[in-house]
Symmetry: C2
Subunit: 240 residues, 2 copies
């Protein structure tokens, strides 16, 4: 892991930009001397780790006492996109604007995007857990489809917070029953891009005996701030 | 208000049994010197104020810093029941055991029970707010149907936590859109006595711009304890 830059933020949080081979990442760590539990934070559908809402959540959780890390995995964020990806994204935008069904297009590029992203997240996890300021266990927060895949393949993930979940590839819908870690599933009730009933069906499908649904009115980006605090307390119950 | 007995509990909470005319009640107050916000706590469908789960919640919220009060309103808890009520309850038990539809029976005794209970709760509210150790504003927690009615008629109620909500009389379903205070709506995902879809429809119907749904797996009495703590924090945001 190669640290490119570091910055001390309000609340004593240290933000470090790093690279790990081709993978760019950011690590936010709290001021405390003891090793902090780690939360992997991923933005829905491969949006960049630098997106303002993700950064705000990450800083808040770091100030609360967690080490938080995000990466731009293969095909995500600022990483190069294949011509197929670019074409699928353009087609998705066109279909959404035209009010056409988007399931097949979504599947055609989110399915492969999840598959490609997983190895980079696992590489990052190994490197992060080798740092003395980070201890186990590990939480995951954010992008539902990636989180399902990671929780299925990676036993070090002990608790997960998922957001939205209306559009999730077939493969991850089928895997939901295999999830057995405590879950906090956060849903925006009027999320235009995430059909409510599908999200409720996904919540129903998760195999975890401890799973909690939180839903609030409003669209995709309208999640109230107190849900970030609820998320911190959820991880506080399980990352010890 | 006539205090019958008082008891000092763990955490400095003072529990007082009182009567107010025919109305028996319990008031739990925290140790703090400053006037505490009040939470009215009612058990679903008129179950007694002495029920163990209600008492546990009330004590916890009082230790957290709230004054909590519960009463046995007319027709509820240990208050006398009319012959009609007794017959409707017997018929409900029979129908539920036989797996028959219970909507009409439920409506026939819960509808009037809510109507009868409201004046006693308003009487209690006036008396409680006259005590020097209690300040405004007022929260409500528990029985959904009664809470809808109280929130509609009583502007001093500033926030409400509702539980279950699968069976709610027609009158209160129709009133749900009039509710405009912040809500925390708590649902047990597999509550055999409260059809899930109806509870979700009720959440959808509430007029409040701030409303949050919390759902957890399991049956009616399986609510995890952390929801009591979440409820305290919800009131903490709104009863100031």
């Amino acid at each position: 892991m190669h640290v490119i830059s570091e910055q001390r933020l309000d609340g004593g949080v240290l933000a470090r930009e790093f690279t790990l081979g081709e993978i760019p990442g950011t690590l936010w760590t709290p001021e405390s001397a003891a090793p902090a539990p780690l939360i992997l934070m991923a933005h829905n559908n491969g949006l960049p780790k630098s997106a303002a809402r993700l950064v705000a959540r990450a800083r808040h959780s770091a100030a609360y006492g967690y080490a938080v890390a995000s990466i731009d995995a293969a095909g995500c964020g600022d990483r190069p996109r294949s011509a197929d990806d670019e074409q699928a994204r353009a087609e998705l935008r066109r279909a959404m604007q035209a009010g056409e069904p988007v399931d097949e297009i979504f599947e055609s590029f989110i399915g492969p995007l999840v598959e490609q992203a997983v190895p980079d997240w696992l590489t990052a996890l190994d490197a992060l857990l080798a740092l003395p300021e980070i201890g186990g266990p590990v939480g995951y927060s954010g992008w539902t489809a990636l989180g399902i895949r990671l929780a299925v393949v990676e036993p070090r993930i002990a608790a997960a917070g998922f957001f939205a979940g209306g559009y999730v590839p077939h493969a991850q819908r089928a895997e939901a029953r295999q999830i057995n870690v405590p879950l906090l599933f956060l849903l925006q009730w009027d999320d235009e891009g995430n059909p409510r009933q599908r999200a409720l069906d996904l919540f129903d499908a998760f195999g975890s005996t401890e799973k909690t649904l939180h839903a609030n009115p409003g669209g995709h980006i309208g999640t109230p701030w107190f849900e970030v605090e609820d998320g911190n307390r959820f991880f506080g119950r399980h990352l010890k």
